[in-house]
Symmetry: C2
């Protein structure tokens, strides 16, 4: 069977399963997820053995130790995977929630009611836990899902998927609700991206090259972010202690996450600019600064133009002095990635100008950009962070995996 | 300048204008819209003269009388165009509305706030009033808009756009907020459809060929519906009087609108099926029915398979007997267009099964599908009806032209 036909067949089965999932109660879906978690636990030996094969192959292929660590499942990590599925089971079900409702003068009651998106495609790399995490979020929100993992985790993904299928089967749920693309042929990714009308949304989870390919080639809507070039702007009216603590935390708490600050902008009129820069340099962070920054902090290197548009994901920070909030906003509009940007100031009017003027998915006042995470927003688990403008922005969780329909209830009304 | 460069230049100017529109107050935007309405009134002579040129050219090209009527502006119609702009001015501004808000245990306040989409592209045909209607809805929702009208209305569109520009100018608003693609080269449509990242959404307004081209070729998200193959299902527990009145209204009130019923499904067990069919035939509607329908109603012709998937937009109706609500839903899933589908029944459980089981943008109980219209839903003016699954579904008005951002307000929080 060619790739297009294979994906069409999977998507058609997924569509049928999605129709029954859409009508399932929260209790039934939760029971299914708990059965999946149980099956992951009872399949632990098989999953860990499969994972060992992937690790062996990864070492033979010379994967970096960071890559191998992402691939690694231990009994503890696998227990975490099962527990995460159970945690999704107890989240509030978004399906059936009434967004708003109006009674018209003619007596018609118009309600907008949340319904599942339908069929979700997940294209991911490395981390085998995504197989269970993403599947759980899709199922809880009433969607069928087609998973396509990376070749480096193929054995682990198949073993986890086999456990999922067992759990679904035990719960009496159509196994087509959670399908894994059965082979690693790259053409199958292309077929998923082209499956307009068959797959309702594609969510890529992985490195920039993967996200870029998906965004460029997809004819199906994509929910993703390409870069997290997050800025912190320290205004002249900033509290110096907050500025130092937030700048250090935003950059250094974890440098490899998409919400990590990559560029620090400081108001030229902020009297303690040098102290904030020094605090960051004292952590061992490499600074790449404009000429004024290098003059203030001898450990800073001179930045090149490229630095303003680079997501380092490392202990490196671009630093620039700017002329107040408008200049900061102009810099962010030019170099940012619409992900997360923060202002540090005690001046409420300046803060509000920034919050309304910066056109990013997440804007923050007096807080660390490292909070850019669905869990921190109270959403439970997130399926990703989106920087596009349509449908869902910022951290996307269960609600972002739904859409709505209009339900009109009448008593025989005809239109005059 | 080539097409791509021209659209890029227009979109870049539109983006800049959209940033200032996004920060404008409701009062400022309303003042701008009222100035636009005023300028349309004072430019009436020029607009009507331009319209006469289009009509003359249309007659010379042999346009149908229906097409010419769509093109025609009279002093009364033009006053309607100006009044419609003023009606949009007084609608509630969606920008800045807080969708939801949560205070986290660490004191961070996370709010989702409505913001404009950014730059909207409208590609339309025939009706020159779209130039003003669509521009007003986009501006009220804080978006810049790039309009591309049909060649048959080129003089009218230019004259209306000149009045709009005059109004914007009088109100001190960047004229790049509402731009009209200056020439009719078809390559410019292609350039708009390809302007991923420059134009945030494209809304086609016109016939099926236009919508189909836009949906097939666009790399920019599209908000539209291709077909309105709307069904009314008359259940065995229907009230016969409601069934007759709704079937006649849904089909015959106006046959040319997308919410008009195209297929009538009747439960085989409904004792008064023949009466409903007769009521519809008595209006002069041509019926194309399954064999049982032809047996019940001698005026009905035999339907072919194509009839179940045809949007007649005419005094023609496909009619079929089905085995209850499940069979009706299966028919709709196979032949429907996800637009608007209704059930007529006095049985609440059957009604709810239909409302949750039919996966269309609008589902109705005991009401005419002709209510599928933003005004009837209380949304004010609509920019269109969408049958896609993402972002906005059903009648799309001001809210559908917005997205949201997350605004996080802190007091110095860092992430542990």
């Amino acid at each position: 069977m060619d790739s297009t036909a294979m994906i069409a067949e999977m998507a058609t089965a997924a569509r049928a399963a999605s129709r029954s999932l859409a009508r399932m109660s929260s209790v039934e879906k939760s029971a299914g997820l708990n059965a999946v978690a149980g099956a992951i636990r009872t399949s632990a030996d098989a999953i860990l053995a499969a994972n060992a094969l992937d690790l062996e192959a990864g070492k033979a292929r010379g994967l970096s130790s960071a890559m191998l660590d992402r691939l690694l499942l231990t009994p503890e990590r696998l227990e975490g995977v099962a527990a995460a599925v159970e945690a999704v089971a107890v989240l509030r079900d978004p399906v059936g929630l009434v967004i708003d409702e109006v009674i018209r003068p003619n007596g018609l009651v118009m309600s907008r009611v949340r319904v599942p998106l339908g069929v979700v495609g997940i294209i991911y790399e490395s981390r085998p836990n995504v197989t269970a995490d993403a599947a759980a979020l899709c199922m809880k929100s009433g969607n069928a899902v087609i998973l396509r993992g990376g070749s480096e985790a193929v054995h682990s993904n198949r073993a986890i998927h086999a456990a999922i299928a067992e759990g679904l089967n035990a719960a009496g749920i159509d196994p087509a609700a959670i399908q894994l693309v059965p082979d690693q042929d790259r053409a199958l990714v292309g077929a998923m991206l082209a499956a307009h009308g068959l797959i309702d949304i594609i969510i890529p989870r992985g490195g920039k090259a993967l996200v870029e390919r998906v965004q460029n080639d997809a004819r199906v809507p994509v929910l993703a972010h390409l870069d997290g070039i997050c800025h912190t702007y320290v205004d002249k009216a900033a509290d110096p202690e907050k500025a130092k603590a937030i700048a250090v935390n935003a950059k250094m708490r974890r440098t490899g996450i998409c919400g990590a600050m990559e560029t620090l902008l400081i108001d030229r009129d902020f009297s303690e600019a040098a102290d904030v820069i020094k605090a960051l340099a004292d952590t061992g962070c490499e600074l790449r600064g404009s000429a004024e920054v290098v003059a203030l902090e001898p450990r800073a290197k001179a930045a090149t133009d490229d630095d303003w548009g680079t997501e380092y994901l490392d202990t490196i920070c671009a630093v620039k002095l700017v002329d107040g909030v408008d200049d900061a906003m102009a810099h962010i509009a030019k170099h940012g990635s619409d992900h997360t940007d923060a202002i540090i100031t005690e001046d409420v009017a300046t803060a509000e100008a920034f919050l309304s003027g910066v056109d990013s998915a997440i804007v923050m006042h007096n807080a660390s950009t490292q909070f850019a995470d669905g869990g921190e927003f109270g959403l439970g688990a997130e399926i990703g962070i989106a920087t596009g403008r349509l449908h869902a922005r910022g951290p996307v969780a269960l609600e972002g995996l739904t859409t709505y329909k209009w339900v009109v209830r009448g008593t025989g009304q005809i239109r005059p």
